[in-house]
C-alpha cells in the first residue's frame, strides 16, 4: 500500500479537516498515512475521531505556512513548516506522495525545493480536472486543464512538456488509452494566439506519442473535444476560477429565483435530481485535488477550502497515482 504524507496544517480549516480526513482514510482504506504537522494540535483532534492507528503516523512539524503568506518568503523562513517536512519525507522515500490543501505557491515551491524535476522537464505544472460534456458513451466526465498556476508565464517548450505530462496523467488516472490533447487558444487556426502558441502548435503537431487535436477556444472547453487542455498558468488559473465562480453563480441564481416566485420554486423542485447531479459534477470536493506534475514524486494540491471528504479524495487520488506509477509514465513519455 502506498504511503501518503498529508500536510495537516495546510488549508483554510486546518488542522481539523485534515485530521478528520486522515481518520476517514484510516477507517475506509488500507492507505498508509503520515500526518505532518504540530503534534500538540493534531493529537487531541485525532483522539476525537474514530480512527485506526495501525495505518496512521504523526510526524511533528513545528511550523506552518498560512494561506495568505508570501510563498517565497515563507519557504525561506520556515524550513520546518509542515509542507516542507512532508515534501522532505517524500524525497527521502519515507512516503510515496504528498497531499496538501495549503498555500498553492508554497506547495509548488516546497516540491521544487525537495523534489528533483524529471529529466528534460523545465517547469512544473499544476493540473486540475473540471466537468465537461461527454461526446461518446463511456467518456470521462472530467477533462484535465494544465497549467492552472504553477508556471505563470510559459514558452512553447513548457507548453509542449505540459501536453506530454497531462497526456501521461490522463492515460494513467482517467484510463483514457489515447487522450486527446489540445491547446487553449483564441481561435482554432494554427496561426492564432501569437508566436508562443503557434510554435507550440507546430511542435505538438509533429510530436510522437501524443494525440494532439489542435486548438480549442474558450467555449469548447466544456464540450468534451479534448481530454487534456494545455495553457500557461496565468490563463489556466483564470479559467479554473471562472468555472468555479460560474458554478457558484448558477447555484445562487437558482436559489434567488426560488425565493422570488413559487413557480420557480416548483420548477426547481421538479428538476431537483438533475440539479443535484449538476451540483455533484461541479463540486470540487469530489475531484480529489490538482496534481503538481513535473517532479520525480507525485504531489496533489487540494483546494484551500477543502473539507475532510475533499482531502480524503485527494489522498485517494495520490495513492492511485502512486499505484499506477504516473511519474514513470510521464518520464517515459518525455524521454520518448
Amino acid at each position: 500500500m502506498p504511503t501518503i504524507a498529508l500536510d495537516a496544517m495546510g488549508g483554510d480549516f486546518a488542522p481539523f479537516e485534515a485530521v478528520k480526513a486522515a481518520a476517514q482514510i484510516s477507517r475506509e482504506t488500507e492507505i498508509e498515512l503520515v500526518l505532518v504537522g504540530d503534534q500538540k494540535q493534531i493529537q487531541p483532534l485525532l483522539e476525537r475521531q474514530e480512527y485506526r492507528p495501525e495505518t496512521l503516523q504523526i510526524h511533528h512539524a513545528p511550523e506552518a505556512i498560512g494561506m495568505a503568506e508570501e510563498p517565497h518568503a515563507a519557504i525561506r523562513n520556515k524550513s520546518r513548516a509542515s509542507v516542507c517536512v512532508a515534501a522532505e519525507l517524500v524525497a527521502k522515500g519515507e512516503a510515496d506522495a504528498l497531499v496538501t490543501a495549503g498555500n498553492t505557491g508554497a506547495a509548488v515551491l516546497a516540491c521544487a525545493r525537495f523534489f528533483r524535476t524529471l529529466p528534460g522537464i523545465r517547469r512544473a505544472a499544476l493540473a486540475s480536472v473540471y466537468p465537461r460534456q461527454t461526446e461518446y458513451p463511456g467518456q470521462d466526465r472530467f477533462a484535465l486543464l494544465l497549467d492552472v498556476g504553477a508556471t505563470v508565464r510559459c514558452g512553447a517548450t513548457e507548453l509542449v512538456q505540459f501536453a506530454l505530462m497531462g497526456s501521461a496523467y490522463a492515460k494513467r488516472i482517467s484510463k483514457v488509452p489515447s487522450p486527446r490533447v489540445a491547446l487553449l487558444n483564441m481561435g482554432s487556426e494554427e496561426n492564432k494566439g501569437g508566436d508562443t502558441l503557434v510554435e507550440a502548435f507546430l511542435r505538438l503537431q509533429h510530436l510522437p506519442g501524443i494525440n494532439f487535436t489542435g486548438n480549442v477556444e474558450g467555449h469548447e472547453l466544456v464540450k468534451g473535444k479534448a481530454d487534456v487542455i494545455v495553457c500557461e498558468g496565468f490563463v489556466g488559473n483564470i479559467v479554473l476560477k471562472l468555472l468555479e465562480g460560474l458554478a457558484e453563480l448558477l447555484a445562487e441564481m437558482a436559489g434567488g429565483a426560488a425565493r422570488e416566485s413559487w413557480r420557480y420554486k416548483l420548477g426547481l423542485r421538479v428538476m431537483e435530481s438533475g440539479i443535484a447531479r449538476l451540483r455533484e459534477l461541479t463540486d470540487y470536493t469530489k475531484y480529489g485535488g490538482a496534481p503538481i506534475l513535473g517532479f520525480e514524486h507525485l504531489a496533489i494540491k487540494a483546494h484551500g477550502r477543502s473539507s475532510a471528504g475533499a482531502i480524503a479524495n485527494a489522498v485517494k487520488v495520490a495513492a492511485k497515482g502512486v499505484r499506477d506509477d504516473v511519474v514513470r509514465e510521464i518520464r517515459a513519455l518525455v524521454e520518448q
Binding site: 477507517r27 498508509e32 503534534q39 500538540k40 493529537q43 487531541p44 483522539e47 476525537r48 475521531q49 474514530e50 480512527y51 485506526r52 492507528p53 495501525e54 495505518t55 496512521l56 503516523q57 504523526i58 511533528h60 513545528p62 520546518r80
Partner: protein, 355 residues
C-alpha cells in the same frame, strides 16, 4: 524480565475478562450473528488476535513473580452456549478460575424483557458478588470492550471498591442508566457489604468499535482504551505484569493471525505513547526488543540526523516532538458519574441509531 511496581507486589492478581468482543470476535450485533452464535462449534469461534498469548503470559509472569493469579470471565451470553465457550477456551489452552453467564431464560420467565439487553445491573452485581471471594489485598485488572457499557460498569465497580461512590449516590446513578429497580437494590446491598480497597489497578477497553479514545478521558487515567492487544500488552509490560517475551508473543500473534505488518505494530506503539498511556522510554525498550526479534523495524533515525535534530532543538528552542507526560491513575479527580452517564448514554444511543 517484567518491570515496574508489580515486581514489588506479592498480592494476588485477579484478571477479569469480558467475553464477547473482548475475548471472542462475536457477531451478535447482526441478525445473522444472533442466529448463528448459538449453533457455533468451539472451533468456529474466533478469539480476538493476541488475546490468547496475552492471558497465557500474564498468568506465567504472575506465577514467576510468586503472585497467586486468578482469571475470570464474565459473559452476557446465556448458559446454553456455555459448553461451546468452555471448549473454545480449552482449545485455546486458557486456564481460568471461573466463568459467569447471564441467565436470560430467568429474565424471560419473569417477564423482565428489559433485562435481556441491560448489562450494567447484571455485570455490576456479578462483580460485586465475586469480589468477597478474593483476599482484600488482591489487585484487579479488568478487560472489556467499547460495544456496550463495560467502561461504566468497570469504573463504577472500581470506585465502589475504592469507597469513592457513596451508598446514597449509587441508586441514583444506576437508575439514570436504566437498571432494573430490583437489581439496583441488590447492587446497593452488595456495594455496602463489599470490603473496601483500592483494588482495581487498570481497566483496559478493547476499541473494537473504534470509538474515539477522547470519549474515555472522563474515566481518568485508570482506564486505557486500546486498539489492539499489542497496545494492551505494552501497557501491561510498563506496569510490570508482563515481560518482553509476553509482549513479543502478542506482537507475533498479530503479525501471524491478523495480517499485521511490522510498520503497523510501530504505528500502534507510537499511538499508545502519544495518547499518554506509555512512557517514551518504555516504548523505546519495547521497540529495541521487537527489532532484535525481527518483528518490527526500529524507528530510530540515523545518528547524523539525530544530531542535527538535537542541534536544531538547542538553536530554535523547538522540540522535535512534544514529550507526553503520563498521568498517575491514582492521582486523578473523582469521576462525576451523573454527568458521565448522561454523556455515555447519549453516545450509546447515537451509535446504536447509526448502526
Amino acid at each position: 524480565m517484567a518491570r515496574g511496581k508489580a515486581l514489588l507486589s506479592h498480592h494476588p492478581l485477579v484478571l477479569r475478562w469480558d467475553l464477547d468482543k473482548t475475548y471472542l470476535k462475536s457477531d451478535f450485533h447482526t441478525l445473522r450473528g444472533l442466529v448463528t452464535i448459538p449453533f457455533e462449534k468451539p472451533e468456529d469461534k474466533v478469539a480476538v488476535p493476541g488475546v490468547v498469548p496475552l492471558i497465557r503470559h500474564l498468568r506465567r509472569v504472575a506465577q514467576e513473580q510468586k503472585r497467586p493469579v486468578r482469571v475470570y470471565f464474565i459473559s452476557a451470553s446465556p448458559p446454553q452456549i456455555a459448553r461451546a465457550i468452555k471448549e473454545k477456551l480449552a482449545l485455546d489452552g486458557i486456564e481460568y478460575d471461573g466463568i459467569t453467564f447471564k441467565n436470560q431464560l430467568q429474565n424471560i420467565m419473569r417477564g423482565r424483557f428489559r433485562n435481556l439487553r441491560e448489562q450494567v445491573g447484571y455485570k455490576l452485581t456479578q462483580l460485586l458478588r465475586q469480589r468477597p471471594q478474593e483476599p482484600v489485598e488482591a489487585q484487579e485488572i479488568l478487560f472489556g470492550d467499547d460495544w456496550e457499557s463495560d467502561p461504566v460498569i468497570y469504573s463504577l465497580y472500581a470506585d465502589i471498591l475504592g469507597g469513592r461512590v457513596r451508598s446514597e449516590e449509587l441508586p441514583e446513578i444506576l437508575s439514570a442508566i436504566g437498571v432494573d429497580p430490583e437489581l439496583i437494590e441488590t447492587a446497593v446491598e452488595l456495594a455496602a457489604a463489599v470490603p473496601k480497597a483500592d483494588a482495581v489497578e487498570r481497566i483496559y477497553i478493547n476499541l473494537e468499535r473504534r470509538t474515539p479514545p477522547a470519549l474515555f478521558q472522563p474515566f481518568g487515567a485508570r482506564m486505557v482504551p486500546t486498539f489492539n492487544y499489542f497496545q494492551t500488552a505494552c501497557c501491561l509490560y510498563q506496569d510490570g505484569h508482563l515481560d518482553l517475551a509476553g509482549v513479543e508473543a502478542v506482537a507475533k500473534a498479530l503479525l501471524e493471525e491478523a495480517a499485521y505488518q511490522p510498520r503497523r505494530l510501530c504505528n500502534s506503539l507510537a499511538d499508545i505513547e502519544r495518547r499518554g498511556h506509555l512512557h517514551q522510554a518504555v516504548r523505546a525498550e519495547i521497540e529495541r526488543c521487537l527489532a532484535r526479534a525481527g518483528l518490527l523495524v526500529a524507528s530510530r533515525r540515523p545518528l547524523p540526523e539525530r544530531l542535527i535534530g538535537w542541534l536544531r532543538e538547542r538553536v530554535t528552542g523547538k522540540r522535535q516532538a512534544p514529550r507526553v507526560v503520563l498521568p498517575h491513575p491514582l492521582h486523578e479527580p473523582v469521576i462525576d458519574y451523573r454527568a458521565l452517564v448522561v454523556a455515555w448514554k447519549r453516545r450509546h444511543e447515537e451509535t446504536e441509531a447509526s448502526a
